[in-house]
Symmetry: C2
Subunit: 479 residues, 2 copies
């Protein structure tokens, strides 16, 4: 049943997204232009996202650290492409402690500059390499058009920064992050399939040698860049003089990488899975996985029902994230509605008849209405719920994958490409230039999202120029 | 044995602290005035501090959220005392996205103003109360004299903000945080006894009705304010119009509280426990609790020793945070030294004779040299280490408590007070004014740290004015 205050997707997808963010109490607008407030339910989801990423980042050998929020303006200017990319969108502190600063301080839009400076201080010999650090932090980019989670002036993210002896090691690191950290997390925990690939020069990070990204498809067929990993070559090492003595005792520039994902991921999660009834959340990341709603009429039924619930949920600690909704003045219907909007994957109802029969009604959020509801023996409930959570997790992935495959078209002419990007991704052979990409973007609003790592082999005619090419690319309109 | 590069405490306590921070690789200086870089070992310690606090904050019913870094300048001005306290030390963004801002944005020095604004938006009725949120964030205060962890321009902290229907509830919250969250954490996990009490009006938070704090004693007898909890009365509710309909359907101002601890705690931990050989870290917070160092001569002994170590540590995952230091080119002595400086509580050594005899040598960091070393059967090792970690945790607390008691003196004259604050705390009856406090501070550099919650009862003569008083206070020089 469509919910009050939620615009149906079919009617206005953009407004539907904003309604979900609002009604599920994920975020709110702040009085500061383009900055959002992440509300407790939205932040609990972010904490689970952080935990899943942090575990993978540490498992691949990285250590967390923390670097200053402020970057001296001159530092940003040391790498020519970097400053060109970021200078237009920085916020600048010019006054502090009641005085004008002699050198303005940029609020970090990303931390290559300040971390590059520290790497130069720490790295002396090949024995100091690799340096593998990660930072959880806030960054600021002065964006013109903002949207909660998807694009905000201030956002939260992690940014990894590494320093290596050779190009091969930097490249290996860059791809390891893309595959073992980002794609693995998004597919397994967010239930969202991604295309992995290389960005074209036009789309790469300001200052990078190569940028890789993972791209997910939203329910309107648009792409969302869910994470990027950059091989920075020796560009930043030259700019910040990160020099080490190699095994031959010769000074050499390091090879560095950087990579990040942000609160944007939460926007992707919301947009990819939710429906007209509210948030739909993959169980592994759901702040509350199971809500238990007592059903009773009058005060005399209450104690028996609550006692049964206490007994049932008694052994669940550490197994599920559970909330027993024992609020007194609210009807079960009101509670069902609230937890559906907030995306709790499983709801358990226990009433007087269940107390008698030793049963419970179990409803799954991903299949609304009666079809998703089942009567289960209390004795079998924990096992049933564990299996159900896994089933929902996998089901969301499968559904997203089917949707993506159905909305990814192989195109062989520009006309077909134009049509395909109206509703999804277009896969095409490509031999065009950056100018060609500009033209397509101007005419169709679509960009090359990635040159996929997985290529079919062989060759074909470029969708625009007709020239023979050995590589395919994915075009899409993007968030 | 004193370590290279660490100035002995007795010679120069301030320099000793800086040397520990540097040699244990906890933090480094950055090119941004007063901002530090928290290095991986220091950040891992901070993560453990965060985890212990976050668990207690959630267990007392609070939820995490996130509010903007920037605060419109006009917001800070809404509460008169608040702006007076913080305006001189704020950093201000005046330019962003290439343009001058029409209203400058203050980088948050604390978030009462922005959160007060959001509370006003969220709270309508008594049913919405209490609101209990916490934020992990960075804040900026433009300090003149900075010192790693203890006072830095940018620092990391948590700030709790709550909103209540009555003064009693706000007061109860303020004290609950002081007792159940802050004092409990610092005493049980940081092994540091604290005095809990009320700040005088002169020392309270800018805009608060009442400020409570916990104060710890460092090894030079100075006080370090380790956490503060403020009952803000209705001051911020009036300034930001946080109004609710009470049970009688009348509009009323809320009562709010705020409370915070910061990376300063890490400075307190370092200063309170460490010695001339480096960091000493309470086991519950140590990034590495047990380091295992293989002892062998030549390549032929190595495999047997490493195999024994693998077998021994095999079952320790999830039980201890362990590092096996299998670096090849370094001598055991070099490794011992490094992990002593970095404050690992327990070191295990296994050599060829241990392999034969099924033994291991176990050294404890808190008792340096031979006295702290024991030979233990490998079969009993895990149990031995578990008990040892507990023993070290408690031993550090006991030692700090003995030191504090030995350096807290009851004083009954101003002369005695002056003498006592040279080496520790002075406990005195007090009936003076804010001007009297100023005078004492000017003459002795000591301030009233707290009016302890635990009072002896009865009365005595004020140490300065001679007037009869029913309350005692604690004077000390402070960090």
């Amino acid at each position: 049943m469509p919910k009050e205050g939620i615009t149906p997707r079919a009617k206005d997808y953009a407004q539907w997204y904003l309604d979900i963010v609002d009604k599920a109490e994920l975020a709110d607008y702040s009085p500061v232009r383009g900055c959002m407030v992440i509300r407790p339910h939205g932040y609990a989801l972010w904490e689970n996202i952080q935990a899943g990423l942090d575990r993978r980042i540490k498992a691949t050998g990285h250590q967390n650290a923390y670097f200053p929020l402020f970057i001296p303006q001159s530092f940003l200017q040391k790498e020519a492409q970097h400053v060109e990319g970021f200078a237009p969108e920085v916020a600048v502190v010019t006054r502090a402690g009641g005085e004008e600063l002699t050198e303005p301080l940029v609020v970090r839009p990303t931390s290559e500059a300040i971390i590059g400076h520290m790497f130069a201080k720490w790295v002396h010999s090949w024995r100091d390499l690799p340096v593998l650090v990660n930072q959880w932090a806030n960054v600021v980019r002065w964006e013109m058009r903002t949207r909660p989670f998807l694009r905000t002036t201030e956002f939260l993210w992690q940014e990894g920064h590494t320093c290596h002896a050779t190009e091969e090691e930097a490249e290996e690191e860059t791809l390891k992050i893309l595959n073992e950290v980002y794609a693995d997390f998004v597919e397994k925990e967010m239930s969202l399939p991604v295309y992995k690939g290389l960005k074209t020069d036009k789309e790469k990070f300001a200052g990078a040698l190569r940028t890789y990204s993972i791209e997910a498809m939203m329910q309107d067929g648009r792409a969302l860049q869910a994470g990027t990993s950059h091989n920075l070559g020796q560009n930043f090492a030259r700019a910040f003089e990160i020099v080490y003595q190699n095994r031959e005792n010769q000074p050499d520039f390091c090879w560095t990488s950087s990579w990040g994902v942000s609160t944007r991921l939460e926007g992707a999660l919301i947009m990819a899975h939710s429906d007209d009834e509210g948030l739909v959340c993959p169980p592994r990341l759901a702040p509350i996985q199971v809500v238990v709603v007592p059903i009773y009429k009058g005060e005399e039924q209450r104690p028996g029902v609550m006692e049964a619930i206490r007994r049932v949920v008694g052994g669940w600690e550490g197994r599920f994230r559970v909330k027993v909704d024992d609020r007194d003045q609210l009807t079960p219907g009101f509670k069902f509605n609230e937890w559906e909007v907030k995306g709790v994957p499983v709801r358990v109802e226990i009433g007087p008849r269940d107390v008698e029969n030793g049963t419970a009604a179990v409803a799954r959020r991903d299949i609304p209405g009666r079809e998703g509801k089942q009567l289960v023996q209390q004795a079998a409930l924990a096992g049933h719920i564990a299996a159900l959570l896994e089933d929902i997790q996998q089901g969301l992935y499968d559904r997203a994958l089917r949707f993506r495959d159905a909305h990814t078209r192989d195109v062989s002419s520009y006309e077909e490409l134009k049509e395909a990007v109206e509703t999804g991704f277009a896969r095409a052979w490509w031999a065009g230039t950056a100018e060609d990409e500009e033209r397509i973007q101007a005419e169709t609003k679509a960009t090359i999202r990635v040159i996929p790592l997985e290529q079919p082999g062989g060759s074909g005619r470029c969708v625009l120029t007709g020239r023979e090419s050995t590589r395919q690319v994915l075009f899409a309109r993007a968030y």
